[in-house]
Structure formats: C-alpha cells, structure tokens
Symmetry: D5
Subunit: 100 residues, 10 copies
C-alpha cells in the first residue's frame, strides 16, 4: 500500500568546500533525486524560497523504503531532515465520492 510522507530537507554545506567536489556532489544528488522522481516515489520537490532547503512529498511502500531512499542521498550527511507522515484528509475532494 502506498503511503505519503512530507520531508523537509535543510542543507548546510561547508562554505569552504572544494568547488569541484561540490559540483560533483550536487550532480550526483540531482541524478539520484531524478531517478526516484521518475520511478514515482518522489512525487513533489519544491524549493523553500530564500533558503537552501526543499519540501518534498514521497510515495512509498513503507517506513523502511522511505528511510532507504533518504539514507542514500549523496547530500544526506549535510542535511537536517523533518519527517511528517501523511494520511488522507476527510475534506479532500479526491477522496470523496461523486456526490460529496
């Protein structure tokens, strides 16, 4: 059964990081993210305005699968994560029958 989680990722890279190492790291992060977007597991990714942070929504089979995806992020050692498990909301029109 597919489940949703909101994940906010705050990134803190050392300001004096080697530019080539940084470039390589960010390229791997982007490729990794897009792979999971294409597979349908990483449903949304938005930039938080003015911050080195994103808000994402994941659709996965389980807590285990979510952890596995996040743990594998190339930027994971530089990130602070805030995880919010989500459920359907009773006011969501997508969950209501035709007469709702």
């Amino acid at each position: 059964m597919t489940q949703l989680y909101a994940v906010r990722m705050d990134v803190a890279l050392p300001p004096d990081m080697d530019p080539a190492a940084r470039g390589d790291l960010l390229a791997r992060e982007k490729a990794y993210s897009q792979e999971w977007q294409r597979s349908g597991h990483w449903r949304h990714i938005w930039r938080c305005v003015g911050e080195y942070a994103n808000l994402s929504v994941f659709a996965v089979e389980s807590n285990e699968e979510l952890h596995s995806i996040l743990w594998g992020l190339p930027l994971f050692p530089h990130m602070t994560m805030t995880i919010t498990p989500l459920a359907g909301h009773p006011s969501d029109i997508a969950l209501a029958g035709p007469g709702a």
Copy 2:
C-alpha cells in the same frame, strides 16, 4: 502568474465546545475547503498523522489571494499557521527539458 505555498494548519478547539456549534463549524470548514479545492487554488490537503493538523499546498495569484483564502477559513480563529513560499526546484523533472 500562479505561485505555490505550503501551509501547515494546527487546530486547537476548546475541548468543552458545544457539540452542535462544533459540528456546524466543521461542516462550514469542509465546504469552504472543498470550494477552493474545486476552483484549483487548494491543490493538496493531507492530514498530519496523529495530529489535529493538515499540510496543504495552495496555488494562487499572489500573497494577497493566499491571505484572503486563509483569513476566510471558518476555523481560522482556532488555527496556528506556518507559511512557506515555494519555488521551482532545479532537480524537478517536471521543470526539465526532454534531454534533462
């Protein structure tokens, strides 16, 4: 131009509220929310698991329009809001060209 905002709404109703008044209030809240969902402005609404709270995403024309919608919520006097303006993320495959 359409813009996105994440809004987390935490609800705190007085435990001793009159049940009829409470029922009426929640019915009006649901109707109000669904009206804005149908118009396309309230794109997502998820329940935060185990909490009287939701995480929502709004697509509006402006800060003004977002404020107007939130201010009009029947539950607004009982809510604490956390607003995060969103922008496109450079890793989002929906924003990439075909060769990305």
Copy 3:
C-alpha cells in the same frame, strides 16, 4: 506490511474537570487502549516517569491505520502527540542472520 512508529502522548486535562466525567473518560481511554493492545497494534505502552505522558510503539499496516487509531482515542482532544516513524536498525541482532 507491518510498520512501527513511536508515539509520545502528553496529556493535559483541565484541573477543574468534573470528577465523574473524568473517571468515565479515563475508563474509556483504558478500554480503548487495551483493545488495541490485544489486537497486537499497540505493542508497547510505558509511563514517562513523573509526567502525565506515555511513550508507545505501534505496529500497523500504514500511516492511515495509525492515524485512525490515534484519532479515536477518547483522550485525543487533550493530548499533544509526537510521532516518529521507525525502521529496522542495521545493528539490531533480531535482523541479523545467524553468523552476524
């Protein structure tokens, strides 16, 4: 697939609550909790020493199921919840093969 979540529940009852109403509420809470313990969904419940709070571990099918159980708690309107989704830990001997 069964998943685990740690849930800390902090209770704040109004000090001037009617004793009979309070007694009835707590009796219903206890019965509800024990029903879910007997079904195997509420795996652990511990009192946090010196606080009107508990730390619990739930084993459920999904975020939805966890929310449904918590939302139905008779004490829910008086509780503040802290939810932590759990996954297997690579050092857990219960997850290791015989040679680990």
Copy 4:
C-alpha cells in the same frame, strides 16, 4: 502583480576569514544589493541594531523572482534567512479611499 516580502538576513562569517577575501566578498555583496535597490526590487534595507543582520523588504513579481534574487547574494552561503510574505493591511491609510 507586485508582491511584498519581509526578509531578515543573519550573517555569520568565519572569524578567521582572509581579510582580502572578506573585503572582496563584502564589496560584491554591496554592489549586488545596490543593483537590486536601483531596479526597485529591494525596497528597504535596515541594519538590525547591534547585530550582523538586516531587515529588508522586497517588491517582486513572484516567489520565483524573490528566490532568484536571494539565491544570488554573494553572502548567501553565510546567511540564515527568515521570510515573511506580506499583504495589504486593512488599516493602512495608503490603501484606504479618500473618505476613510
């Protein structure tokens, strides 16, 4: 449509930064800031008394434009941002008609 945002920027430069690199960084920051002030997007910039921080007000077309300006700040990797989207206030005399 022009929108307003309050942005507080807290700066934390490493105390042992090379003075020439620091001077160059601050000169580029100043030039960048003044360019956006002259274009009308960076409406106000005030120093928070006694702190290495400023409070600014931006007038931009969209969340996207605000993010793009902030992300480009030479000091961005050393800043912590607090973003507050703003709307017109019903008591603002500038928004009131002549008889208000």
Copy 5:
C-alpha cells in the same frame, strides 16, 4: 532625531469574545493606527500572510515615544510584541552620496 523600529504584533483574541465588543475594539484599533499613520509616526503596516499579525515600521523621536504609542493600542492587552531597533545600512542607496 527620528529613529526607526520594526515591530511585529501578533494578536490573540479570545474566540468566544462578544461580537459587538470585538467590533468596537477593532474599530478603535483601526482609528488609533490611522491617526499615528497620518502623523507620520507609523510609517508602514503590512499584514503577515495567513496570520493574525502585522509587521510595522515606526519613526519616532525616542524609545519613550515608541513605548507610549504601543502601550496605547486598544489591542495591546491581546498582543505579543517583537521589537527590533533599526539603523541605517551601509549598502542603502538612499544613504549614499551621488557617486556611490
């Protein structure tokens, strides 16, 4: 000498306030605010989007004068204030000479 202060005002009115008393209170608040805006002391007032709060900028002679204005607000007993004294910023083009 005129000085600037940023003031954020968060309002918390009791949800069960008498509607007439509330209406009267808000009308007096608005009149009071507009009087100080017209005198030039209350330079800016913006609504914080989605919150019962405003961000304002005051231009006054002294700490004393600012306190006197804020203390007199009809809504003062229902407000939480955050005060930030402001100074000119060295990057502000309004403070630079013509060749800057």
Copy 6:
C-alpha cells in the same frame, strides 16, 4: 530490580572524517551494541526514519548501569542523548491480572 529507559541517540559525524577511521568506528559501535543486546540490557533499537538517529530501550539495574553502558559507546563523543526513565503504565495489559 530491572528498570526501563528510552534513549534517543542523535549522531553527528564530521562529514570530512577519514573513511577508514569512520569504518572502524562504526564497526566497533555495532559490535558494542550487539554485545549489550545479547546480554539483554539493550532491549530495542530502532532507526528513526530519515535521520542519523536511533530510539532504544534499555533494561538495566540502575541509573549507574545505564550511564556506564552509554558512556562506553564508541560513538558517544559524537552523540546527543535524550533520556526518558520509564515505568509501568496502568493500561498495559501485560501488567494486568487475568480479569483485567
């Protein structure tokens, strides 16, 4: 007398740690943890999803014994600990007699 404690351990390793030293450190941590799990003192260890953190439950004779085990963790200098002493909960079916 055996007592229970919940312990949350948040790990912060320097991102630039030498990989071999890091590998050795983590191997020693795992062996140390499993030794105490096998002895029955470290009853549960779960990964907090998406975080470099675990939630554990210890069953020890005393505060002294718990401190001694935690202080000896190879990762201890890199950990932030949150300790919650636990007691039996009156709703726990494992503590109730047969007729409860």
Copy 7:
C-alpha cells in the same frame, strides 16, 4: 539499590483559585512532601529564587517508586516536571578511596 534523580517542579496555579481550596491544597502538599522527606526518599528540596518552582533530589529504589511518589503529589495536576536521572561522578570525593 538506591538511585538519585533531580526533579524540577514548576507550579502554575490558576490566579483566581478559591483561597480556602488553595490553602487546603498547599497544606496537603506540604504534609505529603514532609512525609517523604522524613522517610529519606526526598533528600533535598530548594526553592528556585524568584520562581514558583523547586529543585529536588530523590533517593529511591527504582523508576517505579519515583513515579509513584511524584504522581501522588497534591499539586501534581498543576506542575510541569523536568526529570534528570543522576549517577555518581568520577570527581566526587565521597566516592573516592582514602588516597584519592
């Protein structure tokens, strides 16, 4: 085995409490506290200067016993507790041998 715990208790009584009920409550609290002091379980109780709070040290057999004592406090429903389990400190001269 005797164990020590530091407990800070912050008291918040409703300002409009009936004086007689309040007096009775405080008298029962004092008697209860002194009973546990005389038995040797409540080793220290100090007033935190300028606050309606105390810092206490308990010497008990177990987490269970500590919880039982605290839960029984007449003021418990009006208190916020902060619990710190204590252990011997290697610099404590009371724990050192004669040559230390």
Copy 8:
C-alpha cells in the same frame, strides 16, 4: 555583603479582569515596588519598550532576601521571572584603581 541580580518580569493579566480589582492590584504593586526602591534594594526599574515587562536590578544581602522580595510582589502570580545573578566585570571602571 551586597549582591546584584538582574530580574526581568513579564506580566500577563487576564484581559477580562475586573477594572477595580485591577486598579487596586496595580496600586499595591506600585507602592510595594517604591518601598523597596526607597530602601535601596530595588536599584533600577526600566520598562521594556512595547512590552508589559520590566528589567530591574536588585541589590540584596542574599538569595533568600531576593526571593522574599519577589515572592511578595502583588503581581507575582501573574509574572514570569528571569533571574540573572551578577558579579563585577573586570572592565568596569568603577572597580578599577585610579591608574587603571
């Protein structure tokens, strides 16, 4: 020996307090404060601008004396206190000899 303490007092009176009771309470508070000012124990009292709060400096014989004065404040049940014990500063010119 005289000792100094900084004390910040934040006041929260119920907005619906009876005006006469409130007036009486504030008159007693003022008289009490001025009595301790005249005796030399309450050395400074300043209003925190825009807040129902003051910052005070006390010169007393002991922790006991400070607690006794603060506990006796008519507004004490409505106040949140922040206490900072003070000592002489090595840069203070009042503590330096004539050649410093």
Copy 9:
C-alpha cells in the same frame, strides 16, 4: 535626547585561539569598553555569573549611535547580542515628583 538600552553580550572565543592574539584582543576590548564608560555612554557593565557574558546598559542619543558603538567592539565577531530598548517605568521613584 538620551535613551537607554539593555544589551546582553555572549562571547564565544575558539578554544584553540593563539594565546598572544587572544590577550591582545581582550586588551583592546577592555580599553574600548572603558573609553565608552568614561564618556558616559556605557553606563553599566556586569558579569553574568558563571558565563562568558555580560549585561550592560547604554545611554546614547539614538539607535544609530548604539549600533556604531557595538559594531566597533573588538570582540564583536565573537559575540551574540540581545538588545532591549528601555523606557522610564511609571513606578520608578526617580521619575516621580516629590509627593509621589
């Protein structure tokens, strides 16, 4: 017009700072502080007991002057500042007429 501000300064020097550089820095800080004390602008400076911090009171002409003094502190890059603008308190006997 003279105005008062309370300023708390928390100092965080790197533990491995070169002793000579540190000594020179602290000597310059002391001289700078005493210069402003002698001019009457830095009215009070107290050590916060047990902390590398001070609580000071400044009497200056304006926000601008306060910022200029604080910004010039040799220790400024190592300090975290908390600024509280002050005003006269209605209970202050120094502000009352002879009959008060």
Copy 10:
C-alpha cells in the same frame, strides 16, 4: 552568609582533541573540583545519566565567589553553564522547628 546555587555544566570537547592534552586537561579539572569539594564550597556533584554533563550544588558567600570558582574551571572554555540561585523551601523539614 552561605548561599546555595544549582549549576548544570554541559561539556563539549572537540572529538579530535590530542589525547595527551585531553588527559592533562581532565586531570586538572578533577583536581580543581576536588579542592573546592574539600573546602566545602562544592557541596554536590552528580553525573547526568547518559550525558557529558554534571549537576552540582555550590555553597558560597556571594555571587562573586561563585563566579570566581566557575571561571577558574580548566574545562570552562568548553562548558555551557545553567545557573539557578536557590533559597530555603518552606516545606523543607531541615528548616522547620521541632513541632513542624
């Protein structure tokens, strides 16, 4: 007059500190602590379970004396201090007369 203070000391040593320098530092800390314990000024020192922290109680003549002792700690530059001045508690049986 002797006064009491609770002091919590949280220690943060750099993980990569030279072992010999660290050993020397900790030996000096222990000797310093025991000297003040033997003189009767440092009445209690307890380890906070699972944390590199202690909770101590000091009995000193004044704020000045407490600051002097703490400032002299070899570990002081690596410590975060929380200071709570203490007074006698009206429920303390040690303060009550024989008939209490």
